[in-house]
Amino acid sequence: MWLRRLATDRLARGQHAPREEPFVVVAPVKSALRLVAVNGHAAHLGLTIGMALADARAMYPRLGCADADPDADQHLLSAVADWCDRYTPLVGIDLPDGLILEVTGCTHLFGGETLLCRDLVRRLNAQGFEVQAAVADTVGCAWGVAHYGVSALVPSGAERDSLAPLPLAALRLAPAVVDALARVGLKRIADVLDRPRAPLAARFGQELIRRIDQALGHEDEPITPRLPIPLYVAERRFADPILLEADVLGTIEFLAQELARLLERRGEGARRLQVALFRTDGKVYRTEVGTGAPLRDPARMRALFAERLAAVGEVCDPGFGFDVIRLSALVAERCDAEQTGLATPDHEAEFAHLVDRLGARFGLRRVVRLMPQDIHIPEFAISAVPAHAVTMSGHPGVQVVEQDSQGSVRPIRLFARPEPIEAIAEVPDGPPVRFKWRRVMHDVAYAEGPERIAMEWWRDDQGRTLTRDYFRIESRAGARVWVYREGLYGRETAEPRWFLHGLFA
């Protein structure tokens, strides 16, 4: 499929360029402004790509022009590729202005190859794109016919006949090779097809032979898909676009039932699900949710997407409605059916579902379990691990902390960045007698410590991280805080600084 006037179509769609007048897009090529794209009217006037803008202006002084923007063109091409997802999940991009769709096994959904091709061209034309599309058994043949041919449909086995009359450029050869072939009088594909291969390869390179083989189907040519191919897909199309969130969610549940049947047949459950909402005007929204355990229950899938859509609601504007909704499982895992009791409620599953829903709303990284680590530096001693990634059995559980003190040895709240305080100590390496935190002075009634925590020498940044002496302090009012002095007085630093690191209960 070839969007032959992508750059000018893009500008015309954005109403930056007139549709009914000649218009060109220019870019500096070798210190001259040359045409890189022309619209239909300009092409009729005889303007061609590669012509200097000055020449074109000399012929037609009132010619409209704009600067080329390859990034915007590519962006638009990806958007069109997204849209083409409605026909097949396997869409590849053929830079700079083509798309390759693998429609094997998809055509019957649209009433055959011809109808699919016609539908695609009609819809894209309606969106303001000039499209040439061809359906063939090989990528090479389809490319050649789309760019240079007339008939859109190449029947199976007729590649040779349909390619033969086309110019050699239709084989996707480098311009230099085409020029070299033209110089010896070979202009059409028919001219090279029946010639002995060895002399051709020796003179014009292996590329020519490879391209011929690819076009005729003697050599396989893979398509690189833009998006990962989902493992399971269920989708629904609507003659009339749907607008209401309730309808969208209802459809998702319906699709989830279909997906659940597919998953069940293979004994798997989904770990990552994606919904693609195709808006009538071509915009595609994709929303993903992850789950903590393999999931097959349609009602739960619906609930997860309800949270997700509520969280991204403003972004997902239905406009004039969605006409295709697709639910796919991107990651699936083995999920054996479990025998559950009839009388006792299944708390573990219920809680897993709660975690999934919280994760769908806030992001899975925000729903965490605290895991003790084998590090004595307080900031790293407990790390937050996403709750869906931790299984109950994998958690180290309660660590028995033996201590002499009847108070807790670690604070219940810890500052991510220790807060500097002004502290006055009686002796340089003793506990403070008074400290000022957030502009309030606190008298120390009692101090427990020091607990000396040195930084790990193998991570020590050339001795620049200082040893900390921690004190558990009770203020005269009874509030307990965790403060430390950074640096050993006299050995590591002359002026130790004080920090407040946490609050005890």
Partner: protein, 255 residues
């Protein structure tokens, strides 16, 4: 013959919502003085509000909430505990850290970080509805969103789920709410232990709202070894620390 006029306690009982009267769904603190005032303990299936007395008492508020959750977790089947932390409070007074030193096992604690107050309320409501959750603790940085309607929703959700909902305010709140109780919490000077350590965490509690009875003020100490509250009237440090804990030490070594 005329019926005898109802007494004041009878009237109060009649006005109390039905689910708060049920004595079975209560968390007894183990201190008769307080449990009597609460009518047998802190009602479960309800939302309670906690706020600090002074800025430095945020640790005490978290500690008391953690202690209540640990007490409940200890008494009941040991289901999950959800702690909802607003990003603002985590920045302002620190993120939840040494929960296991308060008797909250980390294996049954899930922390949810939320960006907005509305999200915290939503998460609180969702978690309260879940029957697999013992206690839900949510920290709220501003009171504007926590009005009567919002707390009414939370109270209904808690009644359905049967769990304990604790709403931790960042500062003393004056807005009316549908919570069952409201506590003002300050840390109190503790009694030193035998080794010269700081001793047990001590709270100065004032119950400033109680839908099922009178209010009051108490001083309580929390022992995380025993997971129980004590009245710190006497310096009992010697008797407590002298207890034989050789079995615990053995199990720790084995682990």
């Amino acid at each position: 013959m005329a019926e005898p006029l109802p007494t004041l306690p009878d009237l109060r009982r009649m006005l109390t919502p039905g689910h708060l009267r049920d004595a079975a769904h209560r968390l007894a603190l183990g201190i008769p003085m307080i449990d009597d005032v609460l009518g047998g303990g802190l009602p479960l299936g309800a939302v309670h509000e906690l706020h600090p007395c002074r800025p430095l008492d945020h640790g005490a508020v978290s500690g008391f909430a953690g202690a209540l959750a640990a007490l409940l977790h200890n008494n009941k089947s040991g289901k999950q505990i959800v702690w909802i932390q607003h990003d603002y409070t985590a920045m302002e007074v620190g993120a939840l850290y040494g929960a296991e030193f308060f008797g909250l096992p980390l294996s049954s604690l899930v922390v949810v970080h939320v960006p907005r107050v509305i999200d915290a309320l939503w998460a609180l409501e969702e978690a309260l509805k879940c029957r697999a959750v013992d206690a839900v603790i949510a920290e709220i940085a501003e009171d504007g969103a926590v009005d009567l309607t919002a707390t009414r929703r939370l109270a209904l959700a808690a009644r359905d789920g049967g769990g304990l909902g604790l709403l931790l305010h960042h500062r003393p709140s004056v807005t009316s709410s549908a919570s069952a109780t409201r506590w003002e919490i300050a840390s109190a000077p503790g009694v030193r232990d035998a080794f010269g350590g700081l001793g047990r965490t001590t709270f100065a509690l004032s119950l400033i709202k109680n839908r099922c009875g009178p209010c009051g003020c108490w001083t309580l100490a929390w022992d995380y070894h025993e997971r129980a509250f004590f009245i710190p009237a006497l310096p009992l440090g010697v008797a407590q620390t002298a207890r034989d804990r050789s079995a615990r030490a053995r199990s720790a070594r084995a682990a």
